[in-house]
């Protein structure tokens, strides 16, 4: 039964049917074959969509779009640039640092690549960086986006695995920075070879630094309001996402004055479409996951996995390999719905914290976004820089290797994820 369900799904996926529809059709054909009534499936779908926590998805997507239109991204770039631009390879560092920071507002990888890439890829190329290198670095930096809070991916995982989203968010911070650091180290090593051809910027003066800091202040406040609101106990993560939208609009309309009233319609439609793509996948993936659990497919697969070996480290390695491969073909939301019902019992059995599981699983899927053949981050980077996908795919390899090292650390050292939330006494 499991083979039919998964076989059908991948068959439909590979002949070019959208992921959401592939999940739905595979589940429905299996339901019919195994004599389940079809009448329940709209109710399962509606129940999975109608969750208040998931409202964080349209809110964070909209907040990201608004922050970009409000001109926050370019001010962050300028700020990072006056402090880091004079170092060799400075722009590469700026790319990673700003990505980490923007990710702390938007919660999505491709949104980060789109917002920062349009500014930084041309800037790197002007300063003598290789065009392929710049695009690859940008695509890889987008990864950090779904690990550093707030993160849409963590919201979906938290809802599904029934763990605290606030704790997950906190757990993502240190692994996110480790991933960022790994990318910076690789870029500096790679850039050493053609040091001579890189233009360095003159060191900026203190008044320059001060004015950049003042200008970016309102943007810098955004993550403080979002995360401060959540951890101060003022709002839930979902409410914080909605508050971030209002804050972004306030800054965009009244302070930076870069959003025009007539753009608002387009912003709302675009954000709804972006969120609906994820929600549509969640709707059908939930029917798929329902069948996995109700048909006892998940439990028998978990048993099989546990019968292979009882060694915790080998099991974790197997999971990482499965997630990495899956991440190359499917998006994070569907991966959670397919794999969490199977893997979570195994994780609990071998005594790993579900929070750590959420963090390393998300890192795997993030890496998948920057790997061919369907890495969304690569597509966005390629459409910005006009570098062919093939070239970016090759140039991104060193960054992928660095990310894998970071992934290994996070998987096998649970303290990296748990230290910060434990320090804050979060349950």
């Amino acid at each position: 039964m499991g083979w039919i369900l998964f076989g059908l799904f991948f068959l439909f996926l590979f002949i070019g049917i959208p992921i959401s529809v592939s999940l739905g059709i595979a589940a429905i054909v299996s339901l019919c074959l195994f004599g389940f009534p079809l009448t329940m499936f709209p109710a399962v779908m509606y129940a999975s969509l109608g969750k208040f926590t998931l409202l964080a998805i349209p809110f964070f997507v909209l907040a990201g779009v608004i922050m970009e239109y409000a001109g926050i991204s370019k001010r962050l770039v300028r700020l990072a640039n006056v402090f880091l631009g004079h170092i060799t390879g400075g722009l590469a560092i700026v790319t990673v640092v700003v990505s980490c920071f923007f990710a702390a507002i938007s919660g999505s990888g491709p949104a980060t690549v789109a917002a920062i890439g349009t500014i930084l890829i041309p800037a790197m190329v002007d300063s003598g960086y290789d065009k392929g290198f710049s695009s690859a670095l940008m695509a890889a930096s987008g990864n950090v986006g779904i690990i550093i809070p707030p993160s849409i991916a963590f919201v979906v995982f938290g809802v599904l695995a029934e763990v605290s989203i606030g704790r997950l968010f906190m757990a993502g911070i240190v692994p996110g920075f480790i991933l960022g650091l790994a990318l910076i180290i690789v870029s500096i090593i790679l850039l050493r070879k053609n040091k001579g051809s890189l233009k360095r910027q003159p060191k900026s003066s203190w008044p320059d630094k001060w004015s950049a800091l003042k200008d970016a202040f309102w943007g810098l406040m955004a993550p403080i309001i979002i995360l401060g609101g959540i951890y101060g106990g003022f709002v839930t993560p979902t409410e914080a996402a909605g508050v971030a939208v209002v804050y972004g609009l306030f800054v965009g309309f009244f302070i930076y004055r870069e959003i025009k009233l007539r753009e608002l319609w387009k912003l709302l439609v675009d954000a709804s479409v972006g969120s609906a793509v994820v929600m549509f996948i969640i709707a059908f993936a939930s029917v798929f996951a329902w069948l996995l659990t109700t048909g006892h497919i998940a439990s028998s697969m978990a048993e099989k996995l546990l019968s292979l070996t009882e060694n915790k480290y080998i099991l974790l390695l197997i999971m990482n390999v499965i997630f990495l491969i899956a991440g190359c073909f499917i998006d994070a939301a569907s991966a959670y719905f397919i794999f969490v019902p199977i893997m979570l019992p195994v994780i609990l059995e071998i005594g790993v914290d579900p929070i750590v599981f959420g963090v390393f699983m998300t890192m795997n899927l993030a890496i998948g976004m920057a790997t061919p053949p369907i890495g969304l981050d690569i597509f966005v980077a390629s459409s910005i820089s006009k570098v062919p996908l093939k070239d970016i795919s090759i140039k991104v390899i060193p960054f992928i290797i660095a990310s894998l090292v970071a992934l290994g650390l996070v998987t096998y050292i649970p303290a990296l994820s748990l230290w910060l939330p434990d320090l804050m006494g979060m349950k």
Partner: protein, 166 residues
Amino acid sequence: MKLLDYFEELLIVLSLSTMIIINFGNVVSRYFIHASWSFSEELMVILFVYNSFFGASIAFKRGAHLGFTVLTDLLPPKFKKIFVFIAGATTIILMILLAKYGMEMVQSQIMFNQKTPALGLPEWTAGLSVPLGSILIIIRVIQSTFCEMKLVDYKIEASADNEEVQ
């Protein structure tokens, strides 16, 4: 079709902006007048489901749904056209099933006169989003599949023209 476009976008813009206003209003009212709006979550969730279905419909129009098209893109245009058709047809079958069983769900909600817990609204006002959204999506998928097949045709013609020139 123009009217449909407008109706779709209007519903989306209204639902998302109302969600944001209610959410913000609820947070503000909790801290300043120490009163939560008990209806807020329920209303936002209903709007959210409508927003998701109608947004998914526009996403079909824009071809924004994620999929794995690397393999089918490698095929010669003639064969690619077949797979574009299969993808469209499969999506339509799925949505017809969803519309049919969604309608049954709505009928049973009306029959049992179910009400939402906080607002006391009839449950079917929320459930109706499923069949309504499905029908809209069917229209959009027919539209976009025809467009994409025409695009492939155009590519076939263009490559034929190129060969003649050479």
